[in-house]
Symmetry: C2
Subunit: 419 residues, 2 copies
């Protein structure tokens, strides 16, 4: 990456974290981003809103690091002590950021609430540091470059303020500071159908040899993301580095990759593709009980291609809502290829859509018709193709069986659309 190798500590300040009332997701967010920049984090610390203990934690951190990142305690309550404590540690005064101050004054003028002295504090920063704009709140952040020791980065505690401030202002500054003239460019690859450990195994040599771009895997409940971060003099060079690495990654695990981006999801990818091809969709859901359609409903604009559908939880609902002969279900079993196919086909016909998908299976914990929990048939009536059905065994707890069923159905549609 060039530049000197940084040792960094992330300190969250807040009694509510010490009490376990909130989970320290900020630390994971910042850590992932720093990993992408090639900056080493050797310690994460949480300390309460207490001046003495905060001072001691800062003293320890300043000794063992080149950069200390403090999160939280920049607000306007008497509990908020972070910037005052760092200023005292550095022997510096606080000064006021005129733009931030104006924003606070305007807010209180408009809201007719009374402004207190504490509110002014949110616009203050340590003399000599670079204030960082808070686009989604009032408290300014700041970056203090220390000629005589450890540097400090101060960020607000609420994730809705911390994340944009870090992405838009702190990250470019850190990168410039520790990596000289290069710029940083990231690309997030998203995978479904492969676990984190298998993905990491398949690209372990790329991870071991990583330098530029860096690779940072991150596991969510049912998917994995891989963040590639390139350092380069311009966007074109970065793009070439990222393209090359993506190609290497995809030669190993490309079949599981469904899309790009931090805020993307499998359902958003599938809905975008369906809207692009103007293909409408419906569903008949038994064990998932509406979860597939609810997932579709979470994508804005989906009403263009999704009119609605059926939740057929009990057998008689499959007969009454979808006109599937009761004796057919009885003969084949509710968890069967035939029932899954009829559900998909009938839903498609009734809603006059291009695609009908169905889910019937055993969410558990009890077995059903001799099928173990986790047994799921998915049916797919795709355009003019003959209706298909596939059998899955998801050996997990009830809620995961249902979630995995929904995602597997979406992934099947994604694969059909690629053909």
């Amino acid at each position: 990456m060039g530049g000197k190798k940084m040792h960094t500590e992330i300190i969250a300040v807040g009694t509510e974290i010490l009490l376990g009332q909130i989970v320290n997701t900020n630390a994971a967010f910042i850590a992932r981003r720093l990993a992408g920049m090639g900056i080493d984090v050797y310690h994460q610390t949480v300390v309460g809103d207490n001046q003495q203990r905060l001072t001691e934690v800062i003293e320890i951190a300043a000794k063992r690091n080149d950069l200390v990142i403090l999160m939280g305690g920049l607000g306007s309550t008497p509990d908020d002590l972070t910037k005052q404590t760092v200023a005292r540690f550095l022997g510096k005064n606080l000064v006021e950021d005129a733009a931030a101050m104006k924003k606070i004054i305007n807010y209180y003028a408009a809201s007719e609430k009374e402004m207190t002295a504490n509110n002014r504090l949110q616009a203050q920063y340590i003399e000599g540091s670079t204030p960082l704009k808070n686009e989604t709140g009032f408290a300014v952040g700041e970056y203090y470059q220390n000629e005589n020791g450890c540097d400090f980065l101060l960020l607000p505690g609420p994730p809705s303020e911390l994340q944009p401030m870090f992405t838009n202002f702190a990250q470019p500054l850190l990168h410039k500071q520790y990596n000289h003239e290069n710029l940083l460019f990231s690309r997030v690859l998203r995978f479904f159908g492969i676990g984190e450990s298998l993905l990491v195994t398949k690209i372990s040599d790329l991870i071991d040899e990583q330098s530029n771009p860096t690779l940072a895997p991150y596991a969510k409940t049912s998917e994995v993301t891989l963040r590639l971060t390139a350092s380069a003099v311009n966007e074109q060079t970065a793009k070439e580095l990222l393209d090359k690495m993506e190609k290497k990654v995809c030669s190993r695990v490309g079949e599981y990759m469904y899309g790009y981006g931090d805020d993307n999801t499998l359902v958003a990818t599938v809905v975008a593709k369906l809207m692009q091809e103007n293909l409408s969709i419906t569903a008949a859901e038994s064990l998932t009980a509406g979860a597939f359609q609810a997932a579709l409903g979470n994508v804005p604009g989906v009403s263009h291609i999704f009119p609605g559908g059926f939740v057929t939880y009990a057998n008689n609902a499959k007969s009454s809502l979808l006109d599937i002969p009761a004796d057919l279900i009885q003969r084949n079993g509710v968890v069967s290829e035939t029932t899954a196919k009829w559900m998909a086909q009938k839903a498609k016909e009734k809603m006059k859509t291009d695609i009908g998908i169905s889910f019937t299976g055993v969410a558990g914990p009890e077995a059903l018709e001799g099928n173990e929990a986790g047994t799921v048939w998915i049916g797919l009536a795709f355009k003019e193709q003959p209706v298909q059905a596939e059998l899955y065994h998801f050996a997990r707890q009830r809620s995961l069986v249902r979630e995995r069923s929904v995602l597997t159905g979406l992934d099947w549609i994604r694969r059909e659309l690629l053909k």
Copy 2:
């Protein structure tokens, strides 16, 4: 609480946390439990799988605490160094737990996998400590009571192992150790429809004065829990203390309380009540697109009272699936009292259930028919009562509007069932 006041530090050991690949939820879990026991946590720390840095962190923690809790690094890979490092710090050897060793040997015998020397390590503990049984894994935990300084508690990293070990073995031991002969009893109260800050404000005097029972609030996305923990010589005395405190709490915020227990949910409470009274239910969902029914489907056994229902996302689905006259929807608007009432009533009639509920509104981000995002009508056809509808304004992002709609519908049914 009696006993000496403990200063405690929670240390998570794991490079994957430092890299931000996983979020440190263990720290929040342990912190909440300790808060309930009246044990103060002043520091939380994360350090990687590195012997030198782990040793330094232990040295610092041992100086400033009476008890240090280490989580993770008890497994069988070469990265796992926690118990060896603590043993070295204490100048102690490792010894083997016969029962844990037998479990490991039996597993490898049955699975025909090869057992390595590292696997034996999982059954070892520091000489002089009390080993803690791992009911859901192989690595034993341990509690080391130190006559010459800080005590140590070592727990496995996976939450599925850490949580039962802490609840069933570590917590009773800590309580006995630091609180003498008393036993610890907890009760979790669950609230919907009130935010954490308002709840805390309404019982702030009880929180400020807390000693026995202690009170620990915890905010989730759309609900708040309050854990009461009493220390007493027997269960009867604890029950009296908890009853008394619950009564005080409920005199302030009782109308928002829907149930008890760590693993309880609003939907589980409502489904249990419906099953108890043998009342069947269906739904017609527009903006929620199946999310209400999917929530019902997450409760085992719900098929006894939930046959299925309708997702009527587009207007024509409301007409075609529910036989609501198209001109009625057009005249009143899709987001209207009339449409909500018809949807609930028609769904109930078609599925022949005791209860029909409907959701129609604007999930956002765009407005609809002049209604802002967050505008939601919920309709309820409850037994033989005239169908009702209520208007809500949820001013949040799309996914939260839909989640809040579902929970508000459930809470409405809960209130009707109480009448």
